[in-house]
Assembly symmetry: C2
Homo-oligomer: 571 residues x 2
Amino acid sequence: MAATAGPAPEAQASGQHGPARVSFQTAPDRYRHWRIAFDGAVATLTMDVAEDGGLRDGYELKLNSYDLGVDIELYDAVQRLRFEHPEVRAVVITSAKDKVFSAGANIRMLAASPHGWKVNFCKFTNETRNGIEDATASSGQAYLAALNGTASGGGYELALACEYIMLIDDRSAAVSLPELPLLGVLPGTGGLTRVTDKRHVRRDLADYFSTRPEGVGGAKAVAWRLVDEAVPRGAWNETVAARAAEFAARSARPAGAAGIELTPLDKTRAGDTVSYGHVSARLDHAGGVAEITVRGPGQDPQGGAEWIQDSGARFWPLAVARELDDLVLDLRTNEPGLGTWTLRTAGDPARVLAYDRMLLASRDDWLVNEIILYLKRTLRRLDVTSRSLIALIEPGSCFAGSLLELALAADRSYMLAGVFEDAHPDSSPAVIAVAEMNLGALPMGNDLTRLQTRFNGDPDALAAAEKLAGQLVEAGDAERLGLVTFAPDDIDWAEEVRLAVEERSSFSPDALTGMEANYRFAGPETLETKIFGRLSAWQNWIFTRPNAAGPDGALRRYGTGQRAVFDRKRV
Amino acid sequence: MAATAGPAPEAQASGQHGPARVSFQTAPDRYRHWRIAFDGAVATLTMDVAEDGGLRDGYELKLNSYDLGVDIELYDAVQRLRFEHPEVRAVVITSAKDKVFSAGANIRMLAASPHGWKVNFCKFTNETRNGIEDATASSGQAYLAALNGTASGGGYELALACEYIMLIDDRSAAVSLPELPLLGVLPGTGGLTRVTDKRHVRRDLADYFSTRPEGVGGAKAVAWRLVDEAVPRGAWNETVAARAAEFAARSARPAGAAGIELTPLDKTRAGDTVSYGHVSARLDHAGGVAEITVRGPGQDPQGGAEWIQDSGARFWPLAVARELDDLVLDLRTNEPGLGTWTLRTAGDPARVLAYDRMLLASRDDWLVNEIILYLKRTLRRLDVTSRSLIALIEPGSCFAGSLLELALAADRSYMLAGVFEDAHPDSSPAVIAVAEMNLGALPMGNDLTRLQTRFNGDPDALAAAEKLAGQLVEAGDAERLGLVTFAPDDIDWAEEVRLAVEERSSFSPDALTGMEANYRFAGPETLETKIFGRLSAWQNWIFTRPNAAGPDGALRRYGTGQRAVFDRKRV
């Protein structure tokens, strides 16, 4: 890793806990693995992975294989395209390597990584690909994969996240999912689910395809729906340009709008506290707890879309989404020992609701739309985070509208009934508020609102909660309506909360992860929940099995010239 | 285990491969753990587990805890109630133990079992509970849980499979899911999914409930929807009887019908061949393959519902369903080394279609309804079987209607184009036939037909296939229509099939299991697919983790007086 480029300085700092902390903050001028080029309404993201640019030592990123560092840059690029480039209506992803699009996740990196790293790596790459699909579906930025050479494994899975896949037709280029035959694992980034549920490849053809390390190219790849178009080399450039122009022409992105810059986050770490402008976390390593606080807006909103545009990255909802997003990624990656996150808010609930109303009123504006979508994605990141989430609703908090979603995302919530009689006898009791923002603008991955998921199968309770939209609700009513789990009073609060948090830390972290992954997604499933809930769970299981990760397993033996030794018993 | 009671003799025979083979055949006069009593339209299934009646040595089945042997008897009872007792319209499940309903799966048994045994045990118990729900929903036999004492873990999960749950209200009885706090694993029999998705317990209350080893009883259990009714001890017997009578009164089971006996299966094992009347399997231990053949009916159907009633268990569709069901269970449990199953049929496709037509024409008859439902459940068992399934469609086969489902359930199918020129030059080429039976009577666990799942997202292909209903289709057309995967001719057949089977045996069994579990369930999800696909996958992962199954893990340390030692890192 070069000293002056690549991941942000934070990554170089030696952390207290294990290897260098990973930073998720970067910017195009620091990219080592991607290039962005702009041509009117079309942006081209070119993958050109630096072999010596791995986030950790011990592997070379050959053939556009990638590690977390490569994907952090991709995530950054996808985010900036949305916010900084309203003029971009189609994004072409291609490769700078000759005859290779991407070989997927780096195998030596995977083989050398501990289990938790593999799982978190897959989770983040999945989230980035879901974000690509979200940009296509909701932002008018359609992604096209221009596979100028073979796309294997995660390389093909990146293409699967795009709306349209072009494969060069030169008798050697192919798409493939060689994980099963070569590595004894599954494609880790949604491949199996997207092949059948998005591209509608027939399941028996998908089965055959996923056992062929050499993959499928040309007309057969089109006939089987693995790609949309096979393009002769001679017509490649013009066809890619033509398709990008076609998708761009269908977009509803505005003409003449100016982007806003995603300026560097104002993030500091002092001792055991991580702070941003509106979000902070106290890291209690002894207790295994991160205490997260989100602060509401410091002023009333000053206008509509124009003021938002002028405020840019300082605009409170956008700043909160960015800060929370970064904090979730930071803690997930760098603080696996903090198994419980408490979620608090501080501020004026009426002010949060005022910002929400303004956002919804201006939703036709491209930037406002982007901000709401970003908040949606950040909350979804929380939903799939394998940490116990406990919301603590105290006097002075502002769990209203968009911030109420934090409490609804939590595994449990505690709301103080009354006030802290000794400490702050004159304060006002905590209130929460359901509002229009909770009724559809921020759906979970299962396409339901968090309220709908909470009251899954109980339409009366859902209607009662939704009817309250806009009202400030105190603890007794909130508990009665099922909006919070428990509403202890001052006498019981400290003990009850302490017990809940300490108890959580005493349970098996794995069992908690499994339980939370199930309970958080009550009700129907979607492609996204299938990827995180079904596919990832199977992959995690396989990652733990000696047939993959053992010293003689396929993942560890790949590239050594030795064949894997399998325990042939099925379970 | 007593020599003269309990599991069938097969279980005592010393198998070639590992410990005594488990038999899934039993009958009420051999039950050691359950009693059935009949009172008009109400049957009572009483759990009274014999402590010394474990299927394996090394554990005692205290407090109505259970192992596979206990559940095999339950499965048998549920099946016989459906076929042998048309007069039964409500089934009460209760316990003969004082103040205890059931403590769930036996912990020492789980702790001592290898991973594959745990996984298969959970799968079978899940299938039995799904069968209980199927009897309630489709057979007019409603199951009621009469919890005369505490139901913990699998004990409560058994209750969750019932349509109505009564809990005695005596200040000590409770329902609980203590797996997470006590054992560091998940409830293994659908508990988490049914709590939220069937009983609609709010997810945060479900979270809290699942961390309380002592569970929840009385009015709170009702308010939280964990049970339907808390009944004082004084009113217990009359209330249970009243509720059973109410459910019985709603049933559409016929009056005055006579049941048919599920006679012992005619099963033999000679060398490496397992044979029944219509089903056989050749076990190739060297190749890791089971070659399964299902034979079509030997005669034309001779009449309608009356003839079926007279034929009883000899009636071809019922006999095939029972034999295939037993074979699947036998091979899954006793032959984990046979990772690939080839599926062949032999017989006259027109005759299979004639039986199918007769079944569908008489579907209003309770017995015919039961037979179709049994076939449905048997095919679903195949769908969730962690073996690679390859259908081989050759001349002389009868993959038509109900038996076409075997090919549609397979991961891949190969259909010979033409005939084997050297061996049987005068035979007729193989044909397959879509028929009405494929269009809705045998849905998968995802509530789609296997054709709908196959053509998920491709309505034109689905319509083209469905339009063929009733026609015999040769290989070329079958391949073109997407009904089979490949249609090699005589020259390529042997080599192509051999390669497919041998290659399958060379892959990681775990990766195959994960891939198949994903591809087989393209499209939407249901409670049932969530249990097998999401919940079970997480449970399997947790079962492999040192925090549960390691020497210091919670599952292994339970009952030793020593606390589990956890690696606190989240993944």
